[in-house]
């Protein structure tokens, strides 16, 4: 399946877009998503290693599945406050 992943901060600047499209296996987990991003967008690889994935506005764990239709986002270390 093809999913969209929202980008922020330096990731957005690097990709020159606020989202990327990623090819995934149907039963992909969050860990698989991170690997796929790094493979398909080598420019982002360094920062992906530091980032968490949010699924539908919540931080996820590596082994979580990716339900079709979810809103996905790559969350680098936050610096608000």
């Amino acid at each position: 399946m093809k999913v969209e992943v929202l980008l922020f901060a330096s990731l957005r600047d690097l990709a020159q877009s606020d989202r990327i499209s990623v090819e995934l296996a149907e039963d992909a987990t969050v860990a698989d998503l991170l690997v796929s991003i790094s493979t398909q967008y080598p420019l982002l690889e360094d920062r992906v290693a530091l980032s968490r994935v949010a699924v539908n506005d919540r931080f996820s764990c590596s082994e979580d599945p990716i339900p079709p239709g979810s809103e996905l986002a790559l969350i680098p270390p936050v610096s608000g406050g």
């Binding site: 929202l6 600047d13 919540r58 986002a73 936050v78 608000g80 406050g81």
Partner: protein, 143 residues
Amino acid sequence: MSNAQVPFRAQLVRSTIDVSSSTSWLGDPGCGAVLIFCGNVRDKNRDQAVTKIEYQAYETMALAELNQVARSLIDRGAHRAIAIHRLGMLEVGETSVLLGISLPHRKDGFQLLEEGMEQIKKMVPIWKHEHYRDANPVWIDGS
């Protein structure tokens, strides 16, 4: 809880954060203690002269996480809690974040406020784009 039905509140705003309206909202006849933290833009970071900071958020999630921080402060003893984060471009000295609580006695308030700020710093998807006097702007996101 006299002047609000929900005892916690979270907001993302794009204009000046008004500390006095938050203080009023936190007021509760059963609370003897009101504590407020304001995070302001400093003129220096990592030995660079900072001129301004742009805050970018993953807005839906940031609001959900701010709500979660405020709610957790209620769960841990605050009678009211308010968390506000400003987005967009801020000048030095302006307030980017306000966290406030009220509770019956002051005793536990200081640590509660500190823990709330730790949560915000760790969990809320907001990022700074720092602008410097003598260098190009940099995203502070683990880079």
